[in-house]
């Protein structure tokens, strides 16, 4: 297992970035995501404009992978419709499960595509998918 495939510069940048780590002024929906066995703990906040996710942010703590994955997801879904966001969640989870491996199909995940190699580290898969499951929960609520 080559660590440089996991701890890439992009992941490090996202995990330490504060751009998406904040509270929204106006919150339409929020949801806590928690990995009880390891302590990754985030709260996702969303602001909607009709069907569009107008703004999104998160707070919380966790490992570099969980925090980077959350930040990347927020970059990706901001400005998208709920339906588009749910489709991206499915694509991301399929990528992690190695059900979708075609890079062209995965391109729409933008930066989050770098988390593809997390499937080589089974112990860390739950860190990578935490935010995405949380988003699915909050949209479907």
């Amino acid at each position: 297992m080559d660590l440089s495939q996991i701890y890439t510069e992009l992941i490090m940048e996202h995990s330490q970035s504060t751009q998406n780590r904040r509270h929204l002024d106006h919150i339409d929906a929020s949801e806590r995501g928690h990995n009880p066995s390891c302590g990754d703990d985030i709260v996702l906040e969303l602001k909607f404009n009709g069907d569009i996710i107008e703004d999104a942010a998160f707070t919380g703590s966790g490992c570099a992978i969980s925090q980077a994955s959350t930040s990347m997801m927020i970059d990706l879904i901001t400005g998208k419709s709920k339906e588009e966001a749910l489709d991206l969640v499915e694509t991301f989870i399929s990528m992690i499960k190695r059900e979708v491996t075609d890079d062209e199909e995965l391109e729409k995940l933008e930066d989050a595509i770098v988390l593809k190699n997390i499937s080589n580290m089974p112990a860390r898969v739950k860190c990578a998918v935490l935010a995405w499951h949380t988003l699915k929960e909050v949209i479907n609520k």
């Binding site: 490090m12 390891c38 302590g39 703590s61 490992c63 570099a64 112990a123 860390r124």
Partner: protein
């Protein structure tokens, strides 16, 4: 008693000689579970090859052999922890089941509304969640003893929390997170003076040091086999005979009965009253071989050697400016468990990174979420040693933790 030679000892543990991620395995997760020497593996295998039968039931040869194997282990455990009688040794699945047995059979029947149950803040969930349940069900008050700044439990704190209303005190002998060895005997003496019953969770102590339940004067004492070279799935509950005698059975079924009528049952004598259903005989056989192995090396020598390793690791870790240690930094009343964090790095990243160096450590809350909250840490990394670890392995561990910050984008 055999000579204490780690290289020779390691030959008994085939699993330690493998490579992980193309590196030699450095196994430092012994507080989670320990490896099994060939002597234990062979004893279990021999049981299956030659003696397997359902104990206490048949009159045929194999059932009798299985009964002998099982009951011989009971006597061995009795001697190992210096209990007064074999009736006081109950086999369970592990320390967790032993504590649940106590919560259901003792707690639910002898704790009443307004009574106090006192625990230490560092308890493992297995010695905390069952008591929350008892306290809620019975209207009892759950109280916690907190730690001093050097991660120790002072007698002032003990005396402040244990009162005349305290009916039960349950305390880990050694913290699975901090490595602190608590003054179990002193706590028991004080609790008894207030009329409370005392449970000591010995899961982290029994594998590493000589324990005498009568010297501590614990009313109940629990531990797991798999943390002391035995297979998973065998554990022990020790209890004073007069207390076990008045407790109702925990699980009902075969082998724990005396007479069964359509509507009523009388129960078997101790210890069988608490052992319903076919028991883990092969686990008991493994536990017996594990005790032989540990006694052949000597628990005092094991403790002394592990303290040397711990002292060496602490010294090296304290030299690293960005490492924080959660636990005593001196060796007094301490065991070979070191929890730590690396500034700016989440413990899970730390554990994953050192794993690529072949180093197995644990990361997370170590089944002690209230302690993590008390320490103000979301999680920690933890290295824990056993007598088969070597100084050279600690050097590899230290090198691996020095690499963590580099991988996470820090200069050093």
């Amino acid at each position: 008693m055999r000579e204490f030679n780690v290289d020779e000892i390691r030959k008994d543990f085939p699993i330690l000689s493998q490579t992980v991620n193309e590196k030699s395995l450095v196994y430092l997760d012994n507080a989670a579970t320990t490896h099994k020497p060939i002597q234990v593996l062979e004893a279990v295998s021999e049981y299956h090859h030659l003696h397997n039968g359902n104990p206490h039931r048949g009159s045929h040869y194999l059932s009798i052999k299985a009964t002998e194997d099982y009951e011989n282990t009971r006597e061995k455990v009795r001697k190992f922890i210096n209990a007064a009688s074999e009736k006081e040794i109950i086999f369970t699945k592990n320390a967790t089941e032993s504590l649940n047995l106590l919560a259901y059979s003792y707690g639910m029947n002898f704790i009443n509304a307004g009574d106090e149950i006192v625990l230490c803040i560092s308890e493992h969930h297995s010695n905390l969640v069952p008591w929350q349940k008892v306290a809620k069900a019975k209207g009892a008050v759950l109280k916690f003893m907190y730690l001093s700044s050097d991660y120790r439990l002072t007698m002032e704190e003990v005396k402040a929390k244990i009162t005349n209303k305290t009916k039960l005190v349950s305390l880990a002998f050694m913290s699975n997170v901090l490595g602190t060895i608590y003054p179990a005997g002193e706590v028991a003496e004080y609790a008894h003076s207030k009329g409370a019953v005392v449970i000591i969770d010995g899961a982290q102590a029994v594998p590493h040091m000589k324990v005498d339940v009568r010297d501590i004067d614990a009313d109940f004492f629990v531990f797991s086999g798999h943390k002391m070279l035995a297979p998973m799935g065998i554990g022990v509950l020790y209890g004073k005979e007069n207390l076990l005698e008045k407790m109702p059975p925990f699980l009902m079924g075969g082998d724990m009965i005396e007479y069964v009528e359509e509507q009523d049952t009388t129960f078997a004598e101790l210890p069988y009253k608490f052992e319903a259903g076919t028991q883990n005989v092969e686990g008991a056989v493994g536990l017996s071989a594990a005790i032989d192995y540990l006694e052949d090396i000597g628990l005092n020598r094991i403790h002394e050697y592990e303290l040397q390793l711990t002292g060496y690791a602490l010294e090296k870790m304290l030299e690293i400016p960005y490492v924080k240690i959660y636990g005593p930094t001196d060796l007094e009343n301490r065991g070979g468990v070191i929890s730590f964090s690396i500034e700016g790095c989440h413990p899970h990243d730390t554990a994953s990174i050192v794993d690529t160096y072949g180093v197995a450590i644990r990361a997370g809350h170590h089944c002690a979420q209230p302690l993590m909250k008390y320490l103000g840490a979301p999680a920690t990394s933890r290295a824990s040693f056993y007598f088969y670890n070597k100084k050279e392995e600690i050097d590899i561990f230290i090198e691996s933790i020095k690499s963590v910050r580099k991988w996470l984008g820090y200069g050093s």
